[in-house]
Amino acid sequence: MSTTLTTPEPSKLRGIGGGRADRLFRGTLIFAASSVLVILAAMIIRTTIEAWPVFAKEGLFGFVFGQQWSVGTSRSEVTGTYGAFPFIYGTIKTSLIAVVVAVPLAIGIALFTNEVAPKWLRRPLAYTVDTLAMVPSIVYALVGMYFFRLYVWGPAGQVIADSPLTSVPIIGGFFSGPVLLSSYWSAANILAIMILPIITAICRDVFAQVPEDERNAAYAMGATRWEVMSKVIVPHSFSGIVGGTMLGLGRALGETLAVAVLIGSSQRWAGRLFAGGDSMTAVIANTFADAHPEAIWALLAIGVTLFFITMFVNIGARLIVARVGGRVGGGAVI
């Protein structure tokens, strides 16, 4: 028995508009993506060209480690002396202290929010911390200036400066008085508050990713809640915490307004914590308004330097995260 098979209707596989629309869409996306690169490149190149005469005169080493910053008034050549060390030092010092203050606090807040607080309180808590990130910089600057500095950091600094900590060899001098109200300490504290939300948010995320199984395994071995937090959740999240810390550090390095009003604007750098100083962003914000052209170049040179420092911090962050993440075989990666 045989049957004749009929040929089916062609299924219209060859559409018309599809291919072209796809290509258009692709082109738009490529344009959007590449415009970012173009903008970035334009910014780096432009500022570097403007800043070049200053680098040329001081040399990179002289610029980065030079102690003296006295601006000239020329419009065509570099006549002043531009050693940016006090500012670079102030930026790094305040940012590192901010991280040292903020990270333990952020871990604590995130653990409390995720693991300890009753269910109904968790969301409000998370929102509250996230809201801190939405407060404009100028508000931090004002609140730091007219409240925290006077009633919190000043008195707290005084307590530290009066404590036996100051007689510990080597590090004692760092904590010694007098305590100025506008200082590295005040700037670092405002930075700590400002980077707290991002670090806390990242910690919350990575803590939430610790598998239920791992917590249960620890509980089943007789771990207390505290031990589960400190021995399972935090170690598991280590790479994420490092990532969040570096992200916070990046923000702290670049923050301008709040630091500019709180750091003291003293052009002599000091080793002490409670002394006034200056930072890269602060000196740009505080002096560019009445700067002559050559001083503008010098400020741009600071800007370029800050850009590279921030970039290295971010690259370093990614390397650390990738390495740590690979070693423990998993863990959240930023």
């Binding site: 791992e214 395994a217 089943a220 007789g222 031990e227 598991h236």
Partner: protein
């Protein structure tokens, strides 16, 4: 390929043929016919566990003999895991869970107000369905529990002893520093067993410990469980009938019951007896239906 040893308890069956058998048809129940059981280690009396208002298991009374294996079997959702977790107060971690009735461990009610659940869990350890080593080294996985208890000096000994006890030492002794996650599934589960016994419990609860493993790894764990009865009381949840038949001394059969006045579904214990009796002459027809594969 892992070497497959056959203990005296079992007729030599290949892993593959064992797994191919239909439940209840050619069950190998071994030679563990018992004249008499050991003394009771854990006693449950009229235990009811609720999640909020939902009753997951109702009115379970059960005795778990010391240094024997008790299997909890029954269809999915009948509350086996729930009941297992009440034995070491893991249900405390579920905020909605509440336990009524009494669970006595060595005669002491572990739900008494002044009992510390942390202490309970140090004596009654647990192995989970999915192997769940920490993302740490093999050594650190096993050392985790002892370190919690402040052990520092004899740590190497404890780690070696626990790994030997879990029949894993020979496979990992040269790579204790490697991540626990680098091991195979069966090795990971034995690592979890080593980790559980490192804190020196005397009861080990296992919730479907082989369900994520291949047949050969499963057999190794089963052999290990038999060996472990010289030191430990084991309660195992399994949905694999042959496994219950192969490893356990006593079997408790649970089912989901809707015959109560409120018409709500909750898990109940149908019967508990010597494994051999359950598998050959169960007294309740629901048990027989289940183990011969006509149900669930």
């Amino acid at each position: 390929m892992e070497q497959q040893t056959v203990t005296e308890d079992h007729a030599p069956t290949s892993a593959a043929s064992t797994m191919d058998q239909r439940p209840g048809l050619h069950v190998d129940i071994g030679q563990r016919r018992r004249a008499q059981h050991n003394e009771v280690h854990i006693t449950l009396k009229d235990v009811t566990v609720k999640y909020g208002t939902f009753t997951a298991v109702r009115g379970v009374s059960l005795e778990v003999p010391r240094k024997e294996i008790t299997a909890l079997i029954g269809p999915s959702g009948c509350g086996k895991s729930t009941l297992l977790r009440t034995l070491n107060r893991m249900n405390d971690l579920v905020p909605t869970a509440s336990v009524a009735g009494s669970v006595r461990y060595n005669g002491e009610d572990i739900y008494d107000a002044d009992v510390d659940p942390v202490e309970v869990r140090r004596r009654i350890g647990m192995v989970f369905q999915k192997p769940n080593p920490f993302p740490k080294s093999i050594y650190d996985n096993v050392a985790f529990g002892p370190r919690l208890n402040g052990v520092k000096r004899e740590l190497d000994d404890i780690v070696e002893k626990s790994l030997r006890r879990a029949a894993l030492w020979d496979e990992v002794k040269d790579k204790l520093g490697q991540s626990g996650l680098s091991l195979s599934g069966g090795q990971q589960q034995r690592l979890c067993i080593a980790r559980a016994i490192a804190v020196d419990p005397d009861v080990i609860l296992m919730d479907e410990p082989c369900s994520a493993l291949d047949p050969i790894a499963t057999l190794r764990i089963e052999e290990l469980m038999r060996e472990m009865t010289s030191d430990y009381t084991i309660v195992i949840v399994t949905h694999n009938m042959q496994q219950a038949a192969r490893v356990s001394d006593r079997t408790a059969f649970f089912t989901v019951d809707v015959d109560n006045p409120q018409q709500e579904r909750s898990g109940v214990l149908v019967e508990v007896d010597d494994t051999e009796t359950i598998f050959t002459q169960a007294s309740d027809e629901r048990t027989e239906a289940y183990i011969t594969g006509r149900f669930g």
